[in-house]
C-alpha cells in the first residue's frame, strides 16, 4: 500500500507498548503452566501422605489424617489448587517435605548458579556460533568451511553428557588444568576477586560443554542465513556503491542475517535449561537442574513443581528478551505493530 505520509516516529513508545503487552501475556501463560503442572502431578497415582507415612514407618490412619490436614491434602482439589496459586503469586511455592525447607528458599539458593551457567553458555554459544557461521560462509565450499562445519556438527552430534565426561577426564583428571566439579573450591573461603576467579575457573568446563553443543545450531543457521542474504538485491546495491567487501559483510549482510538467528536463540533458550540438567549433574554444579534431578529421584512433588514453574518463567523471560531484541533490530516490526 502506498504510504504518502512519511511516518517516521522513532518507535520507542511502540517498544514499550510491545513489552507491556508481552508481559501481560506472560502472566497468563505462567498461570496456565501452574495449573497444568499442578493437575498433572495430582493425576499421577500415589498419595504423598501415604508415601511420607510409609517412609516414616508409621501407617496408622490417624497419622495419615494428621499429615493430610497439615499439608492441606484433605481439601478438595480445587481448593488445594487455589491455595497453591495464591501462594505461588506471592512466591510461596510450598514446602519440601523431604528437605524440611521452603521450596522458594531452595530454588532461591540454587537459581543464581544456574543463571550463571546457562547465561554464560548462552552468550558463548551465540557469539562463537555466529562468528563461526560468518567465517564459514565467507569460505563457502572451501576447506575452511568444511573444517568449521565438521567441528560444529561433531559437538552437536555427540551426547552432551559424554562430552562433559571427556572434558572432565582430559582437562581436569589428565591435564589438571581446571577443576572438574563443583561451583567453588570447598573450604577455601575465598572472598572478593579471588572468589570470582575461583568460580570462573569452575565455570569453564560446564559452560563450554553446554555452549559448544548449542554453538553448532547457531553456526549452521548463521552460515545459511548469511549465504541467503548475500544473494539479495540490496547487497548488489551495496557493491554498486563501491563499498568494500568487509563493510558489506558487516553492515549489510550480517545485520540482516542475524534476524533468524535471534528467533532461534529465543527458542533455544528453553533447550539450554534442559541441557543444564545434564551438565549440572555431571559437573556437580549446584543449580536448579541438579535440584530437579534430585527431586525427581525422591518424588519431592513441591520441589518438582517449583522448579518447573521457575524454569518456565525463565524460558518466558528469555523469549521476551529475544523478542525485544528482534523488535529493536528490525524496524519493520517495531514501526508496524
Amino acid at each position: 500500500m502506498a504510504r504518502t505520509d512519511l511516518n517516521t516516529r522513532t518507535g520507542a513508545d511502540s517498544v514499550i507498548r510491545f513489552i507491556l503487552g508481552r508481559l501481560v501475556k506472560a502472566v497468563f501463560i505462567l498461570l496456565a503452566i501452574l495449573v497444568f503442572n499442578f493437575l498433572l502431578i495430582h493425576a499421577a497415582p500415589g498419595d504423598p501422605a501415604a508415601v511420607m507415612a510409609g517412609e516414616a514407618g508409621a501407617a496408622d490412619e490417624k497419622f495419615l489424617a494428621d499429615l493430610r490436614t497439615r499439608f492441606g491434602l484433605d481439601q478438595p482439589l480445587y481448593v488445594q489448587l487455589f491455595i497453591y496459586i495464591k501462594g505461588a503469586v506471592q512466591f510461596d511455592l510450598g514446602y519440601s517435605f523431604r528437605q524440611q525447607m521452603s521450596v522458594a528458599e531452595m530454588i532461591g539458593d540454587r537459581l543464581p548458579a544456574t543463571l550463571l551457567l546457562t547465561g554464560v553458555a548462552f552468550v558463548l554459544s551465540l557469539v562463537l556460533g555466529v562468528a563461526a557461521g560468518v567465517a564459514a560462509s565467507a569460505r563457502q565450499g572451501r576447506w575452511g568451511d568444511t573444517i568449521i562445519s565438521t567441528f560444529a556438527l561433531l559437538f552437536y552430534a555427540t551426547p552432551l553428557f559424554w562430552v562433559a565426561l571427556m572434558a572432565t577426564l582430559v582437562f581436569s583428571v589428565w591435564l589438571g588444568w581446571l577443576p572438574g566439579f563443583g561451583y567453588s573450591t570447598i573450604g577455601a573461603n575465598y572472598t572478593g576477586m579471588a572468589h570470582v576467579l575461583d568460580v570462573a575457573k569452575h565455570l569453564v568446563l560446564p559452560a563450554s560443554t553446554l555452549g559448544l553443543f548449542f554453538m553448532a545450531i547457531y553456526m549452521r543457521m548463521t552460515r545459511a542465513s548469511m549465504l541467503e542474504v548475500s544473494r539479495l538485491d540490496f547487497v548488489k546495491t551495496a557493491r554498486a556503491k563501491g563499498l568494500k567487501r568487509g563493510v558489506i559483510q558487516r553492515r549489510h549482510i550480517l545485520r540482516n542475517a542475524l534476524l533468524p538467528v535471534i528467533t532461534l536463540a529465543g527458542l533455544q533458550a528453553g533447550q539450554i535449561f534442559g541441557g543444564a540438567i545434564l551438565t549440572e549433574t555431571v559437573f556437580a554444579w549446584p543449580g536448579i537442574g541438579r535440584l530437579m534431578f534430585e527431586a525427581i529421584n525422591q518424588r519431592d512433588y513441591n520441589v518438582i513443581l517449583g522448579v518447573f514453574y521457575i524454569s518456565a518463567a525463565m524460558v518466558l523471560l528469555f523469549n521476551l528478551i529475544t523478542d525485544v531484541v528482534y523488535v529493536i533490530v528490525d524496524p519493520r516490526i517495531r514501526l508496524t505493530t
Binding site: M1, A2, R3, T4, L6, N7, T8, R17, F18, L20, G21, R22, V24, L232, D233, F234, K236, T237, A238, R239, A240, K241, G242, L243, K244, R245, V247, R251, H252, R255, N256, V329, D330, P331, R332, L335, T336, T337
Partner: protein, 543 residues
C-alpha cells in the same frame, strides 16, 4: 565524445546453462549525455552486458573476451580494488525492484551517506546535508522526514527516487538503469522517466537504460540497441529503430506493444447478469495485534457495485493501493467482505460456507500475477492440474486425460505433465496457471495482473490466448490490471478504481478515449510512448 566503448564483449555462462554465452559480439559506444536504451526480452543478455561494465556479474558468469574502455581506460579485468572507485563514483546503477534493492534495516539517509563514506568524500555532517539535498533534487515530498525513514515506509516511486538519489550522489558520468520502472504504476513510471530525463539534461550524465518496453524506449531514448538471445540484432537512433525497424525481431517486439487503438464496442447480450456485485466493502486494520497497539484502518474497498454478463470481459483498472485486487479476492472469497453481496446465478456467495461455498467456487477461478510463486514448486504439472478435479470427485484417469487436453488448449505439449514449474519460462508458467484455472470448467475467470510480470511480447501471446479461450469456452472474465494498454486490448468494459472507490465505469472506447474523470485522464496521459504510437500510426498509414 565517446565515454564508454565496448568491443567484441563475450560473457560466458556457467557450464551446464542452456547456452554458452550470456552475451557475445557486443559492440557499442556511449557518448557523454546520451540516453542509450538496450531493449530485449528476459534472457536476451541485456542486463548481463550492463552488469559487466560495473564488474557486478553473478557468481560463475565471467567475461571471456573483448574490451570495455571507459574514459580512455580499459576496465575489463580490473581487480576488485581497482573497480571500487568507479562503482558509485563514476558509474552508478539503479535496479528494477527498489524495495529489495534497499537494505530494510537501514534508514534511507544512512544508505545515501554510505556512498560518500565508501569513497571517502565529505565529513560526517556534510554527508547528511548532501543526502538531504539529493532527496530534494529527486523530488521526495518531505525530505526531512524521508531521510529518517526506513525503505518499507516509502511508496514504490519514493523508493526508486531514493535509489536514484543514491546513484547520483557522486555525480557519476554514467547511470545504468536496469528496468527501473517495470515494477511501478504508469503514473509513477512517467514521473521517474521524466526525472531521469531532467537529470540527464542538468548534469550531462550518460544513461544506459535497460527495458523490455518499447513505449518507454520511445519516450526517452536517443539511441537504441535491440538484443535477442545474447546478441545485438539491431542498433540505431531512436527514430531509425522505432519507425523503420530492419530486423524481424525488432518488428515483432514493436508489434507486441499493446496500443490504445480505437475499438468497436461489442455489445454483450444483456440478458441476466452472471455475477452481480452489490455495495462491496472491505476494511483492513493493522496494528491491532497487541493489547496496546494502535489501530490503523485502510478502507480498501468502498461501495463497489457492478454486473458481469455472460461472455463479457470487464477490466478493473487502478494503481497499487486502489483496491482492485481486493475486489477480486473478495469475490472468490479468498477474503471475506465486510459488507455487500456477491450474487452468482442469484445465490449470494459472500456469506456461504463449507460445501455450498466449495460448490460455487468451482465456477469462479483465479489466475494470479506471479507465475513463479503461484505454482507449487514441489508439485509436478500433472498434480497442479488434476488436484482440483480430483478434489471435486473426478477419477484419477479422467482428471489426467482432462489435464492433457487443457495443456494442449493453452499451447503446451502433454510432456509438460511430468515436469516441475521451474523447468518452464515465465510465459509457459502463466499458461499452466491458465490451464489450472480452466480445469474446473468455470464460468468466470478472475485474472489478477495476469500478464504484468511478463515481457511485452509474451504478454501479447498470453492475452491472445485468453481472448481465444474466452470466446471458445464462452467465459466471462474480470481482468484486474494497472496497465490501461493491456485492458484496452482485451476488455469490453472498464471500471477505474482509485482509493477503494469506483471513479469511472463504461465501455472501453468511452473510458479510454473520452473519459469523464480527471483521474482516468491522468492515467491515460501517463502511458509511455503515446507520441510514438501516433507517429507509428501515421507511418503505417503512409505505407
Amino acid at each position: 565524445m565517446t565515454l564508454l566503448s565496448i568491443r567484441d564483449l563475450a560473457i560466458a555462462l556457467p557450464v551446464g546453462a542452456d547456452r554458452i554465452y550470456a552475451a557475445q559480439n557486443i559492440n557499442f559506444d556511449l557518448a557523454a549525455g546520451e540516453i542509450l536504451c538496450i531493449v530485449g526480452e528476459s534472457g536476451s543478455g541485456k542486463s548481463m552486458s550492463a552488469n559487466a561494465v560495473m564488474g557486478l556479474l553473478p557468481e560463475g558468469v565471467k567475461p571471456v573476451k573483448g574490451n570495455i574502455t571507459f574514459d580512455g581506460r580499459e576496465i575489463l579485468g580490473l581487480s576488485e580494488a581497482e573497480m571500487l572507485p568507479l562503482r558509485g563514483g563514476r558509474i552508478s546503477m539503479i535496479f528494477q525492484e527498489p524495495l529489495s534493492a534497499l537494505n530494510p534495516l537501514m534508514r534511507v539517509g544512512a544508505q545515501i551517506a554510505e556512498v560518500f563514506e565508501a569513497h571517502g568524500a565529505l565529513s560526517k555532517s556534510e554527508r547528511r546535508d548532501r543526502a538531504l539535498k539529493l532527496l530534494e533534487e529527486v523530488g521526495i515530498p518531505d525530505p526531512q522526514a524521508a531521510i529518517r525513514a526506513y525503505p518499507f515506509q516509502l511508496s514504490g516511486g519514493q523508493r526508486q527516487r531514493v535509489m536514484i538519489a543514491m546513484a547520483l550522489a557522486l555525480e557519476p558520468d554514467i547511470l545504468i538503469a536496469d528496468e527501473p520502472t517495470t515494477a511501478l504504476d504508469v503514473t509513477t513510471q512517467a514521473q521517474i522517466l521524466k526525472l531521469i530525463e531532467d537529470l540527464r539534461k542538468s548534469r550531462g550524465m550518460a544513461v544506459i537504460f535497460i527495458t523490455h518496453d518499447f513505449g518507454v524506449v520511445a519516450d526517452i531514448a536517443d539511441r537504441v540497441i535491440v538484443m535477442q538471445k545474447g546478441e545485438i540484432v539491431e542498433t540505431g537512433t531512436a527514430d531509425e529503430v522505432l519507425l523503420k525497424p530492419q530486423h524481424a525481431y525488432t518488428r515483432a517486439l514493436i508489434d507486441a506493444i499493446p496500443r490504445l487503438v480505437q475499438r468497436v464496442d461489442t455489445e454483450a447480450d444483456q440478458g441476466k447478469p452472471l455475477l452481480t456485485v452489490e455495495n462491496l466493502e472491505k476494511t483492513f486494520s493493522t496494528g491491532a495485534g497487541s493489547l496496546f497497539g494502535k489501530r490503523r484502518v485502510v478502507k480498501a474497498v468502498q461501495n463497489v457495485s457492478f454486473e458481469l454478463f455472460a461472455g463479457e470481459t470487464i477490466g478493473i483498472v487502478g494503481e497499487s493501493g486502489s483496491g482492485k485486487s481486493t475486489v477480486g479476492r473478495c469475490i472468490v472469497r479468498l477474503l471475506d467482505p465486510d459488507a455487500g453481496r456477491v450474487l452468482m446465478d442469484g445465490v449470494d456467495i459472500s456469506h456461504l460456507a463449507g460445501a455450498e461455498l466449495r460448490d460455487q467456487r468451482r465456477k469462479l477461478q483465479m489466475i494470479f500475477q506471479d507465475p513463479y510463486s503461484s505454482l507449487n514448486p514441489r508439485a509436478r504439472v500433472s498434480r497442479i492440474l488434476t488436484e482440483g478435479l480430483i478434489a471435486f470427485g473426478t477419477s484419477k484417469d479422467a482428471a489426467h486425460a482432462k489435464a492433457c487436453e487443457l495443456l494442449e488448449m493453452v499451447g503446451l505439449d502433454a510432456s509438460a505433465m511430468k515436469r516441475f514449474p521451474h523447468e518452464f519460462s515465465g510465459g509457459q508458467r502463466q499458461r499452466i496457471g491458465i490451464a489450472r484455472a480452466l480445469a474446473l470448467d468455470p464460468s468466470i475467470i478472475i485474472a489478477d495482473e495476469a500478464v504484468s510480470a511478463l515481457d511485452v511480447s509474451i504478454q501479447a501471446q498470453v492475452l491472445d490466448l485468453l481472448a481465444e479461450l474466452k470466446t471458445r469456452l464462452n467465459l466471462s472474465m474480470l481482468f484486474i490490471t494497472h496497465d490501461l494498454r493491456v485492458a484496452a486490448r482485451i476488455c469490453d468494459r472498464i471500471i477505474v478504481m482509485q482509493k477503494g472507490k469506483i471513479v469511472e465505469a463504461g465501455p472501453v472506447s468511452k473510458v479510454l478515449h473520452d473519459p469523464d474523470s480527471a483521474y482516468t485522464r491522468s492515467l491515460l496521459d501517463a502511458i509511455p510512448g503515446q507520441e510514438y504510437e501516433r507517429a507509428l500510426a501515421l507511418a503505417e498509414a503512409e505505407v
